[in-house]
C-alpha cells in the first residue's frame, strides 16, 4: 500500500466538515466517497477508516456502500483506464468482439489492471454515445465507430507514446 498524501487527507477532512454542516449532512456518504475517489483515484482502505471516524459511521457500513456501487474502485487504477461500453447499441454493433481483442492485447480481464500499471479495463453499462457504437472511453476521451483493427491500433499508439517518454 502506498502512503496516503497528507495534503489530500486534509482536503478531504475539510470537505467532510463542510458537508456535515448542511441539512441532513450525515446522508452525504456517497458524495464523500466521490470526493475521495476524485482525490486518490480509488478508495484506499485507510481513508475509509478516516471517513468512518469523521462521519461517526462503522467502517463496515462504508465498505458495504463502496462495494455496492460499480463506480467506486477499491484498488488503484492504471494510467489509462479503458472503459468499454457494453450497452445494448454497442453490443448489437459488435462490442463483444472489441472486448475480446482488448483482453487479448492487454492480457487482462475486465476489472483488472496490467502489471506495468499502464492500463485498466472496466466495463461501462452505457456511455450514452450510442450513435458512435461501438465505443470505448479511455480516461475522459471517447473513441467511437471501433473495429477490431482500430482498437488494436489504438492500444498500440498508447503503448508507443509511453515508450517515447
Amino acid at each position: 500500500m502506498q502512503t496516503i498524501e497528507a495534503g489530500k487527507i486534509e482536503e478531504l477532512r475539510e470537505f467532510i466538515a463542510t458537508i456535515l454542516k448542511s441539512d441532513y449532512g450525515d446522508s452525504n456518504l456517497i458524495s464523500v466517497l466521490h470526493k475521495t475517489q476524485e482525490l486518490f483515484g480509488y478508495l484506499p482502505r485507510e481513508v475509509m477508516d478516516e471517513i468512518a471516524q469523521r462521519m461517526s459511521l462503522p467502517t463496515a457500513h462504508i465498505w458495504g456502500v463502496a462495494t455496492f456501487y460499480h463506480y467506486f474502485n477499491l484498488t488503484a487504477p492504471g494510467k489509462y483506464v479503458i472503459s468499454i461500453c457494453l450497452g445494448t447499441a454497442c453490443y448489437v454493433k459488435g462490442a463483444a468482439e472489441i472486448l475480446t481483442v482488448i483482453e487479448q492485447e492487454l492480457g487482462i480481464k475486465v476489472g483488472e489492471t496490467t502489471e506495468d500499471k499502464l492500463f485498466s479495463l472496466q466495463p461501462a453499462r452505457c456511455l450514452g454515445a450510442c450513435g458512435l457504437a461501438p465505443v470505448v472511453m479511455i480516461n475522459d476521451k471517447i473513441y467511437g465507430d471501433l473495429t477490431t483493427v482500430k482498437i488494436k491500433k489504438l492500444i498500440m499508439d498508447f503503448r508507443k507514446s509511453e515508450q517515447h517518454k
Binding site: 456518504l29 453490443y91 452505457c126 477490431t148
Partner: protein, 596 residues
C-alpha cells in the same frame, strides 16, 4: 446591396382582396421615406393558410407574422420593427405553441417531419449554459404564471387534466402522484428528479439535461409550489459529467435571478435544489432504492406501501418524477392541459422521447406523439436499416422490456399497446436489431446485465436471474437440452410474480418475449446446434472461400496463428487453433472468410 430584412406578403386570393396590394404600396412608400429601401426586400408568397386573419405580412429574420393589417399600421411597423428591431406586438398574430419553434428553425427535414418536440423543445436551439436564452423562449414564464395566478390545487388539477403519465417507464398518472403527496401533512416535503438513467442504450435524460437544464428546474419548482415542498433533489448518474456541470451552472444562474431560493419572484415561495450523484447501480432507478442511495446507504429497494408520497426521503412525503416528465410541466402550464391532451392517444397523452440506436441509419433522440407507429419511427424518422439488411426485431424498454418482431411494426407506441405486444414503453430506449444478431444471444446479454445489477435483497431476483442466465449460457454454448425453453418460461414467470421491485418483476421480459416471438431460434440452438446469425461462437466455424487471393493480411492479423497458406494461393483456417475472434473477417478486403 445586401438585404437584411425580407418582408413577404401573402399573395393568396383572400389576402390580396382585403387590400394586400394597397398595403404593399404603402410599405414601399414608407421604406422610401425612411431611406431604407435598399435594406429591405419585398416578396410575395403563396397562400399561407391563415385566411381569416388576412391580410398577412411576414417579416424575416424572426418569422414575425402580422395579420389583420390596416394601411395605417404600416408606418408603425416600419419605424418600430424594421428600423429599431422591436416587433409591434399588438399586431403580431399570437405565437403558436412552443414546440413549433423547433420546426421553424430546423425546417421540415425528413428526420424532424414526424417528430413533435415538447420535452426537447429547446434542445439544440438555446445555449444551455445561458439562462437568458431560456428566458427569451418563455423560460420560467410557467413558474411566474403559477405563482401569481394559480393556487396549488389548480396546478395539480391542471396536471391531472393533461393526462400526463410518468415518463420513467411505468406510466403512473403524474397528477395523481402530485395529489397524493400534496395531501400529506407537514412542512417538510421533498421533490426529487430521477436522472439515474441506467438502461444500457438509453440517453434521453442525459441529452435533455445537457440541452435544456432549466426546464427541469422550472418543472420541479412548479411541483414544489403545488405540493408544498421547499426542497428539491436531482439524483443524477456520476457518469454524466457534462450534464452535472450544466445543472450546477443552471441552478446558480436561477438563484441569481431569484428563480430559485427564498421568496421566489417576491411571491412568498421558497424553493431550492440540490444535486446528489449516483454511483453506478441500475437498481437505483427504482424509487425506494434511489431514496436509500440519497440517504447514503446501499441502494436497495423496500416493499411498498408506504409509497414515497407518504414516507420517502428522510421519512418525509416525497414526489419523484423522471427528467422527461419534469420537462413537460412548464409547457402544460403555459399552453394548457386542454391543448396537451389533444396530442397522443386516448390513454397516453403527449409525446415520448426515444433514444433510437442500433442498426438504424439515423441514430439519435426522437420525440414523437404517442400513437406513432414503430414503423414510422424506424423507417420514416430513422431512415431504415443500413446496408439494405432486413429488420429482425425492435427492442424497447431496455433490460425490462422485450423484443418485438417485424409483424409488430405497426404497433402504435403508447403504454397499453406496447404492453399488449409483450414489451413495455420503458424510459425510452429503442434498439433496432437486424438479421446479424442472434435473439438468444440478445436475451442472454440482457440477463447478464440484470443478474449482475440485481441488488441481492430478494431471492427470486438474486437466484432466479442467475439460473436463467446459466441456462442461456448453456444454450448458446451448444449444450442446450430439451425442456430448457419450458424451464426458462416457468422460471421467468415465477420471478416476475414474486420479486420485490420493478427490476426483478421485469428482468425476465427480454427472455420471455424472445421465446414468444423467436422460439424457432431457441429450438435451432438446442436441437440443431445452429446459430443462424453466426453470433454464438461455439456453434460456428470460420472458413476461407474462393474469393481468397492469398494476400496474407488475415494471416498477419490472426492472434493465434491459425491461418496458413502460401502468398497468392488460397489460405486455410485451422479450426482447432481458431478462437473465433473475427479479426480475419475484419481484415479481409475480399469477403473471402465466412462464418458457418
Amino acid at each position: 446591396m445586401a438585404y437584411d430584412t425580407i418582408i413577404t406578403f401573402c399573395d393568396g386570393t383572400r389576402c390580396m382582396h382585403t387590400q394586400g396590394r394597397a398595403l404593399q404600396a404603402v410599405l414601399e412608400q414608407e421604406l422610401e421615406r425612411c431611406q431604407i429601401k435598399d435594406r429591405v426586400k419585398i416578396t410575395l408568397s403563396g397562400c399561407l393558410g391563415m385566411c381569416d386573419k388576412g391580410p398577412i405580412m411576414v417579416v424575416n429574420p424572426g418569422y414575425t407574422i402580422y395579420g389583420n393589417l390596416q394601411e395605417s399600421d404600416i408606418p408603425e411597423i416600419v419605424a418600430e420593427h424594421i428600423v429599431k428591431g422591436n416587433p409591434v406586438s399588438r399586431l403580431v398574430i399570437q405565437e403558436d405553441h412552443l414546440y413549433n419553434r423547433f420546426f421553424r428553425i430546423f425546417g421540415d427535414a425528413k428526420f424532424f417531419g414526424k417528430q413533435m418536440r415538447i420535452a426537447l423543445r429547446n434542445c439544440g436551439i438555446i445555449d444551455p449554459e445561458n439562462i437568458d436564452d431560456y428566458l427569451a423562449l418563455n423560460g420560467y414564464e410557467a413558474l411566474a404564471k403559477v405563482l401569481t395566478e394559480m393556487s396549488p390545487t389548480e396546478v395539480i388539477a391542471e396536471v391531472k387534466k393533461s393526462g400526463l403519465r410518468g415518463r420513467g417507464g411505468a406510466g403512473f398518472p403524474t397528477g395523481l402522484k402530485w395529489q397524493f403527496t400534496a395531501e400529506q401533512e407537514g412542512p417538510d416535503k421533498f421533490v426529487i428528479c430521477n436522472a439515474d438513467e441506467g438502461d444500457p442504450g438509453a440517453f434521453m435524460d442525459r441529452s435533455a439535461i445537457e440541452g435544456d437544464p432549466h426546464t427541469v428546474l422550472e418543472g420541479m419548482a412548479i411541483a414544489g409550489y403545488a405540493i408544498g415542498a421547499k426542497k428539491g433533489v436531482i439524483y443524477i448518474r456520476a457518469e454524466y459529467p457534462l450534464a452535472i456541470d450544466r445543472l450546477y451552472k443552471a441552478i446558480n444562474q436561477a438563484r441569481k435571478y431569484n428563480l430559485l431560493g427564498d421568496n421566489i419572484l417576491e411571491a412568498g415561495f421558497d424553493f431550492d435544489i440540490e444535486i446528489r450523484l449516483g454511483a453506478g447501480a441500475f437498481v437505483c432507478g427504482e424509487e425506494t432504492a434511489l431514496i436509500h442511495s440519497i440517504q447514503g446507504a446501499r441502494g436497495m429497494p423496500r416493499p411498498r406501501p408506504p409509497y414515497p408520497s407518504v414516507s420517502g426521503l428522510f421519512g418525509k412525503p416525497t414526489l419523484i418524477n423522471n427528467v422527461e416528465t419534469w420537462a413537460n410541466i412548464p409547457v402544460i402550464m403555459l399552453d394548457g392541459a386542454e391543448w396537451f391532451s389533444t396530442i397522443g392517444t386516448e390513454k397516453s397523452k403527449g409525446t415520448k422521447v426515444f433514444a433510437l440506436a442500433g442498426k438504424v441509419v439515423n441514430t439519435g433522440l426522437v420525440e414523437v406523439p404517442m400513437g406513432t407507429t414503430l414503423r414510422q419511427i424506424v423507417y420514416d424518422i430513422g431512415g431504415g436499416i443500413p446496408g439494405n439488411k432486413k429488420l429482425k426485431a425492435i427492442q424497447t424498454g431496455g433490460p425490462s422490456g422485450g423484443c418485438l418482431p417485424e409483424d409488430y411494426l405497426d404497433t402504435p407506441v403508447d403504454y397499453e399497446s406496447l404492453a399488449a405486444a409483450g414489451s413495455i414503453m420503458g424510459s425510452g430506449g429503442m434498439i433496432v436489431i437486424d438479421e446479424a444478431s442472434c435473439m438468444v444471444d440478445i436475451a442472454k446479454f440482457f440477463l447478464e446485465f440484470t443478474q449482475n445489477e440485481s441488488c441481492g435483497k430478494c431471492t427470486p431476483c438474486r437466484e432466479g436471474t442467475k439460473r436463467m442466465y446459466e441456462i442461456l449460457e448453456r444454450i448458446t454454448a451448444g449444450e442446450g437440452r430439451d425442456g430448457d425453453i419450458e424451464k426458462l418460461e416457468r422460471l421467468g414467470n415465477m420471478i416476475k410474480k414474486s420479486s420485490l421491485c420493478g427490476l426483478g418483476q421485469s428482468a425476465p421480459n427480454p427472455v420471455l418475449s424472445t421465446i414468444k416471438n423467436f422460439r424457432e431460434e431457441y429450438e435451432e440452438h438446442i436441437r440443431e446446434k445452429k446459430c443462424r446469425a453466426g453470433v454464438c461462437k461455439e456453434l460456428i466455424g470460420y472458413s476461407v472461400n474462393d474469393n481468397c487471393i492469398g494476400c496474407g493480411a488475415c494471416k498477419k492479423a490472426c492472434p493465434v496463428g491459425a491461418i496458413t497458406g502460401k502468398t497468392k494461393s488460397k489460405h486455410e483456417i485451422d479450426a482447432e487453433k481458431c478462437i473465433k475472434c473475427g479479426m480475419c473477417i475484419a481484415t479481409c478486403k475480399f469477403d473471402a472468410i465466412i462464418k458457418a
